[in-house]
Symmetry: C2
Subunit: 194 residues, 2 copies
DNA sequence: GTTAGCATGTAAGGAGTTACATGATTTT
DNA sequence: AAAATCATGTAACTCCTTACATGCTAAC
């Protein structure tokens, strides 16, 4: 639904697919998964949880242990049946949105729930995306009159190298996928509906 | 002034310090400098230009060549005296803000306008920041009950490696700075006001 | 001639951060 | 006892993106 906040929504759904959790726990998991740059803040997470609840994808778990352990109970969330369907549907979307900067990492984190052809498709899409970027920068650098002091050059070299490394990494993952492709490990709990 | 949009403001000021330019050109330069992820959009740039103009840091250049070469003239901007002062002041700020994710790269791009001690200070600050991050993730991974499937692990490994590489790079730059530190190349046009 | 790139803007809307508000529990 | 961490939320604000609106110029 939400085009842009798709990444967080996907992460929450995916993590709750593993196991029920409360907000604080979710935040830590998301930060471990993709918190290399910005850390997920409560101001983002809790409203997202509310929205997902209103959409019917998650619900609060009525606690078995008595929740009177203080005034503020921990609110544990779990996926509803609709939430599971929705997550399965998201997993099937293997188009450009799956390999943009915003979404690729979180997609990769839940690759175990997808089938091998989808994995390859997304990995290749991501790689193409990065290669286009590389081409663009290389072209601009050549013809454009760019700044060329030592530090600017270092910055550009390091940036270029990072992207090149990611391409190499993706290539390795793709090759692993292809060679393991025959003795296929069946996706865990997501059934092939389509 | 602006805490968060500081990065773009700094870039614009720095580029106009090199030479007067119009918006379209600025965008290309900024994108070459730090456009590895998101590309700077006009919706961000032009309002920023207006704000900088209103703040008195930049002004439009009355063109020497007759600007009647179509209805839409190119609006060339240059730094005012206040703009130069402001940029010089920004260059002297070598605190935490200079080495966060948002600002470090653009600071590095204009390192040639700073003196060597400031460069080392910022490089070391950035390195510490990344090392803290590394520690945090390593600690969380060990004690926390994290997901541990193949793809999550790959994602984490690659993320960790990227940050480690950046630390190595920074260390190299610091060493270069120290060894070249004695036969100092004087900062170009920024005078040491303080 | 038509595509691609040059060139400048605005309006609406989305996503996320910071700071605030509140309080319990565990560790040092 | 203090500090850290657990735990949930809200409101204001900022920045940015997308899509729209307009028109020229060079290359193929």
């Amino acid at each position: 639904m939400a085009k842009r906040g798709a990444s967080l929504e996907f992460a929450v759904l995916g993590l709750l697919h593993d196991a029920p959790m409360h907000g604080y726990e979710l935040r830590k998991h998301v930060n471990l998964l993709l918190g290399w740059t910005r850390l997920l803040s409560y101001g983002t997470l809790y409203p997202c949880l509310k929205a997902l609840g209103k959409a019917g994808f998650i619900e609060t778990v009525t606690p078995d242990e008595p929740l009177i352990r203080g005034k503020r109970p921990r609110i544990v969330y779990k996926l509803t049946a609709e939430g599971k369907d929705h997550f399965a549907a998201l997993l099937e979307e293997a188009g450009p949105a799956a390999w943009d900067d915003e979404n690729f990492n979180i997609r990769l984190a839940f690759f175990a729930s997808t089938d091998s052809p989808t994995r390859v498709r997304i990995l290749e899409g991501r790689r193409s995306r990065l290669e286009e970027r590389l081409d663009g920068v290389r072209t601009s650098t050549q013809r454009g009159r760019a700044r060329a002091d030592k530090y600017t050059l270092e910055l550009q070299r390091h940036g270029l190298e990072s992207v090149e490394r990611e391409v190499t990494w993706l290539t390795e993952l793709i090759e692993q996928e292809r060679s393991a492709g025959k003795g296929e490990d069946v996706p865990s709990s997501i059934t092939e509906a389509k």
